[in-house]
């Protein structure tokens, strides 16, 4: 009976710091990090809205914690202001990378002609800025800073 000799293969392992080896990998990681920052921002605002409405009280190490008061304090700190600035930068990075990715996921066609990805990107940036300006005007009643 013939036996098959099995040789050991060398199996390479990917370094956990793989994203540092290449500019595009790094940009990808930044894009993912942007998602985390905006998620944290949304979580904080949602908790703030909820606490403002229901005034929950949690048991704490030194007596009870008024969540609303804690959120009120947190959202007025300089740290949160800096966090929001950083998150805003990440949010804009998210927007730009999203507009770049979108035409690759859903090619836009007008009667058989494929709209070039660069045009879709430009169009979406224009829509983004236009929508933001329109909303700003609506929310501020036309008053600018």
């Amino acid at each position: 009976m013939a036996t098959k000799t099995v040789y050991h293969r060398y199996r390479p392992h990917q370094s956990p710091l793989w994203f540092l080896s290449n500019r595009r990998y790094f940009a990808f990681m930044l894009r993912e990090l942007a998602g985390l920052f905006i998620a944290v921002y949304a979580i904080l605002i949602a908790v703030g809205l909820f606490a403002g409405r229901f005034h929950p009280v949690l048991p704490g190490p030194n007596g009870s914690i008024d969540v609303y008061a804690s959120m009120a304090w947190l959202l007025k700190t300089r740290g949160f202001f800096v966090f929001t600035l950083i998150s805003l930068a990440f949010a804009c990075y998210h927007s730009l990378t999203w507009f770049d990715l979108f035409p690759q996921v859903t090619p836009i066609q007008i009667r058989g002609w494929k709209v070039p990805n660069r045009w879709v990107f430009g169009g979406m940036v224009a829509l983004w800025i236009g929508l933001s300006l329109a909303l700003y005007v609506v929310l501020y009643g036309g008053k600018l800073l």
Binding site: P16, L36, I43, A46, L49, L88, K143
Partner: protein, 128 residues
């Protein structure tokens, strides 16, 4: 879940930067909102609907106030919930990249749980 992720990504991309500026960075245009004075620019739906000179852009003559208010509240739920879904879905995959792929089930429960909680909290806070 990917549908929530992509819709959330769309909403966050188009609308979140502005709302971040309005909610947390720019000075407040109106003093009152939902009893949350610490939001630097929170706004009251009453003011927004009746005293805003640009309120004519809203289909007020055609829809009752309740409907417009409803739409705007759902908009906030979608904005915050969608952003949370999108970011946490991405974060889940980042955690996979850092070796936590085996804990997929647990991460699904925790991260999507938080995202659902964000949507839920916003919904409960805004709706009676």
């Amino acid at each position: 879940m990917w549908t929530f992720f992509s819709l959330g990504g769309f909403i966050a991309a188009l609308l979140l930067p502005l709302h971040m500026v309005v909610a947390s960075l720019a000075p407040s245009p109106v003093p009152e909102a939902y009893g949350i004075p610490f939001l630097k620019t929170s706004f009251s739906f009453r003011h927004f609907l009746y005293e805003n000179p640009y309120a004519f852009v809203l289909p007020l003559p055609f829809f009752p106030v309740e409907v417009v208010g409803l739409v705007l509240k759902l908009y906030l739920v979608a904005l915050l919930g969608g952003t949370a879904f999108h970011g946490l879905h991405r974060f889940k995959y980042t955690l996979f990249d850092f070796g936590l792929r085996k804990q997929k089930r647990a991460l699904n429960v925790v991260l999507y749980g938080i995202a659902f909680a964000v949507s839920g909290m916003t919904f409960l806070a805004l709706f009676p």
